[in-house]
């Protein structure tokens, strides 16, 4: 089993850290993982993306040009990556701010109102965890427990008090993700 | 009286320190380098720290200093002696470490390394020999060449409008919080040699305190580069170099507040 994922959005949305937590979850589940970020000066507001690969075998290329799953968090990323999803693959996106919605018929498209839900929950910072919850609902390759373990590994100890809130966000994401 | 009657320990008034090797010095007759080498080695002998001292040779006339000094030494790329010394002293903090550098090495190509080592307050000693000219490469202009002074790359004299001003780097590093002891000396007279040797001793003693960098400039001559004989060169140095680079302490340690 190999799952090749692209997560793309604006810098500052937590794209890279979501990928990191997912990768750590994979390790907790005894998988091989790779996390390859786009890197550069666009720390906030620019586009950011990361390729995460989870596999039961040794991972060959950490860089691929088509994906099993695309997690899309803004319009430029949707425009760029919709066509890179493999036929039969999965696209999950937050419709917030999207004016040109995905149109492909040969892939499974899901939407998750994570921006709105994060605002409802009173903490915009948990936005990315809501999205992650949506992803693991659709693609249950890693368990919620292992995601929490991954979260513990990737968060510095001084932030561990935030874990319950993040867990709640993941659960909420699993509830609200829906077929487009 | 036979010669054997004269060669007796009680008659000894001068001996070459065994910390200078038997290798004949490669410096021009009349050059200050030999005397400066000697007083540094004498101090190391007197303090009995040969086994604890590591020197760094530069690029310039004293590139082969390691041939004459009987201590462990490294030879650095041009201008980088203080970078080497930084690493050695940090890895071997109980050793005495010094660099021996000329004006081109220390105050032109190595300016960044010099200033940053001084500013970090590295606990080693810099011996800086300033003769206002590039001796080894044949008498080109140095960062310390005086205004109006001739060199092969300023054959009509240093025109500061074109070539810029000489750099008083010793005054400059004295401003930095990391330097502990900064002084300017010369070795052209017996009295000056005595004073300079005292300064060298001070630097090694201060080095034990780990309170920062000790920096000694020796204003020196270059009779070959200046195209003079040795006597003329020393006279020219007194009349021209000393007014611009006045001898004496620039920064001395303040007595500890009780």
């Amino acid at each position: 089993m190999t799952e090749e994922i692209i997560i793309a959005g604006f810098g500052g949305q937590g794209v890279l850290s979501m990928g990191k937590i997912l990768a750590y979850s994979g390790i907790m589940q005894n998988m091989e993982v790779s996390w390859m970020p786009s890197y550069g000066p666009e720390m906030r507001g620019g586009t950011a993306n990361v390729i995460v690969i989870l596999s039961t075998e040794r991972i060959s290329s950490p860089i691929v040009n088509e994906y099993d799953t695309a997690i899309i968090l803004n319009q430029p990323s949707l425009d760029k990556f919709e066509n890179t999803v493999k036929p039969g693959g999965t696209l999950i996106y937050d419709p917030n701010g999207i004016t040109r919605h995905p149109t492909r018929k040969d892939i499974n498209i899901y939407s998750i109102e994570a921006t709105e839900e994060a605002a409802n929950m009173g903490n915009t910072k948990i936005f990315n965890m809501i999205v992650l919850g949506g992803y693991i609902k659709i693609k249950p390759l890693v368990s919620v427990d292992n995601v929490i373990k991954g979260l513990e590994k990737s968060l510095p100890k001084r932030h561990h008090h935030l874990i319950p809130e993040n867990k709640a966000a993941i659960i909420r994401g699993m509830e609200i993700v829906k077929t487009k | 009286m036979d010669i054997k009657d004269i060669i007796k320990p009680e008659n000894l008034v001068y001996r070459r320190t065994p910390l200078l090797t038997d290798k004949p010095l490669s410096y021009c007759p009349g050059c200050g380098h030999g005397t400066i080498h000697r007083i540094i080695m004498e101090v190391i002998e007197e303090m009995n720290i040969q086994d604890k001292t590591i020197g760094i040779a530069p690029v310039g006339c004293s590139v082969l200093a390691y041939e004459f000094m009987d201590i462990d030494m490294q030879q650095a790329a041009h201008g980088r002696a203080t970078a080497l010394a930084t690493a050695i002293k940090r890895l071997l903090p109980d050793r005495f470490v010094f660099t021996y550098q000329g004006d081109g090495d220390l105050a032109a190509i190595g300016t960044a390394e010099t200033i940053h080592a001084c500013n970090r307050g590295e606990n080693f000693i810099i011996f800086f020999v300033n003769n206002g000219i590039y001796g080894m490469t044949g008498g080109q202009m140095a960062p310390t060449t005086l205004p109006g002074m001739k060199a092969s790359t300023c054959p009509f004299g240093r025109d500061t409008k074109i070539m810029g001003n000489p750099l008083k780097i010793t005054e400059l590093v004295a401003q930095l919080p990391g330097t502990y002891y900064v002084t300017r000396q010369a070795v052209h007279t017996p009295n000056a040699v005595r004073k300079a040797k005292k300064a060298v001793r001070n630097a090694f003693e201060y080095s034990k305190l780990n309170k920062g960098l000790c920096f000694i400039e020796f204003v020196s001559n270059c009779n070959s580069g200046w195209k003079m004989n040795a006597v003329q060169a020393n006279k020219w140095m007194e009349e021209n170099m000393f007014p611009f680079y006045p001898l004496g302490d620039i920064k001395v340690p303040q007595p500890e507040k009780v």
Binding site: - | V63, Q74, R80, T86, A87, E113
Partner: protein, 359 residues
């Protein structure tokens, strides 16, 4: 099993330096490798192992700090990315001349000049042909995973002392920036000063009465002695070719076509091999792990078996020259690769296999 962590390549290198008992790290920030010094400064090994870590005023100062440390018998490490490595090259040449151990990491980015900060493999010539002035070589290791960014520090340490020669780990922005699972090796204590003096009797640790003074220099004004010295260095490089060539073969036993690649490009090529095999194309990969000494002998053997070779690298063609020299025109050798910070994809490489190799 050692400790498992998810780390960036740059972080794995830094952690491995601490665990390998490297004595000092001197560096200067430059993208995409600044995580190395950031990690070390956060880890504060100077409080635990006594390893010295210092952010120097420049790449030039940092490499010369390495020279001083190595000359005193210690094992220094430094890291940079392409433009910074060019600045270090003078010091690297001095260290090769003075026969000093060193671990140097180059996280290559697009060039020439300031170029960009995206991954590239365009410093191959610089790394494998000396890089600085004079007749010398570096031992060059090319990691293709985060695990190897850690493991190769141990190989580099061994080789640096075995040959008294600088070792370069030639990485790139992909390997430096990506995170993978790493199994960390158990820490090895740093040598005591007595052990340093025993292992490196040539080091400038202070002249003891029972020995001659030690001098670390790359200077010898007598050309006949200098020639002798250079020939001695050359003998070391010959020995490296006999004893320390490293490479990995992937699906070559029945291969009709061969890819030769290193580093992140080799990872991409692994995927290409998988894609090709699905289509029934008998494609194999030789991954060069040492770029100097180059696994040319093995490539020459494989040239007898395959119909053609494609060198795949993120440059306009540097590795390909060594491949061509190795096979000596016995089979066609082609080059494919994106450059300037653009990374080729596995399918682009497969297209090149079809359009160049199989035409």
């Amino acid at each position: 099993m050692g400790e498992l962590r998810l780390m960036k390549g740059n972080e794995a290198f830094a952690e491995a330096c601490i665990r390998a008992g490297v004595d000092a790290y001197f560096g200067y920030p430059i993208t995409p490798q600044s995580e190395v010094i950031e990690y070390l400064m956060a880890a504060k090994p100077y409080e635990t192992t006594g390893m010295v870590v210092l952010q120097a005023e420049s790449e030039i100062a940092s490499i010369n700090m390495c020279y001083g440390a190595a000359g005193a018998g210690f094992l220094p490490a430094t890291s940079s990315s392409s433009p910074g490595i060019s600045l270090k090259m003078e010091g690297i040449s001095y260290m090769a001349g003075a026969e000093l151990p060193l671990i140097i990491l180059n996280v290559v980015r697009g060039g020439p000049g300031l170029g960009d900060i995206q991954p590239a493999q365009s410093d191959y010539f610089q790394a494998t042909k000396g890089g600085g002035h004079g007749d010398y070589r570096l031992y060059v290791l090319a990691p293709s995973s985060v695990q190897e960014m850690s493991d190769f520090v141990l190989i580099a340490k061994e080789i640096a002392f075995k040959y008294r020669n600088p070792v370069m780990i030639l990485s790139d922005g992909v390997i430096g920036q990506m995170m993978e699972k790493v199994e960390l090796f158990d820490p090895i204590p740093r040598r005591t000063i007595e052990e340093v003096e025993k292992q490196c009797p040539w080091a400038t640790t202070g002249k003891k009465p029972n020995r001659q003074r030690n001098i670390i220099t790359s200077l010898d004004l007598d050309p006949y002695r200098q020639e002798k010295h250079v020939l001695k260095l050359y003998e070391k490089y010959k020995r490296m070719e006999q004893e320390d060539v490293r490479y990995e073969e992937i699906q070559v036993s029945d291969a009709e076509y061969l890819l030769v690649a290193y580093g992140s490009s080799a990872r991409i090529c692994q995927k290409t091999v998988d894609l090709a095999r699905v289509e029934g194309i008998k494609l194999g990969l030789l991954r060069a792990i040492t770029l100097f000494p180059f696994p040319g002998k093995r490539i020459a053997e494989l040239a007898k078996q395959v119909k053609g070779i494609l060198a795949v690298e993120m440059s306009t063609g540097q590795l390909v020259e060594d491949v061509k020299l190795s096979v000596n025109c016995s089979v066609p050798v082609y080059h494919f690769g994106r450059t300037g910070g653009v990374i080729h994809t596995p399918t682009e490489v497969l297209d090149a296999v079809k359009n160049l190799l199989m035409k």
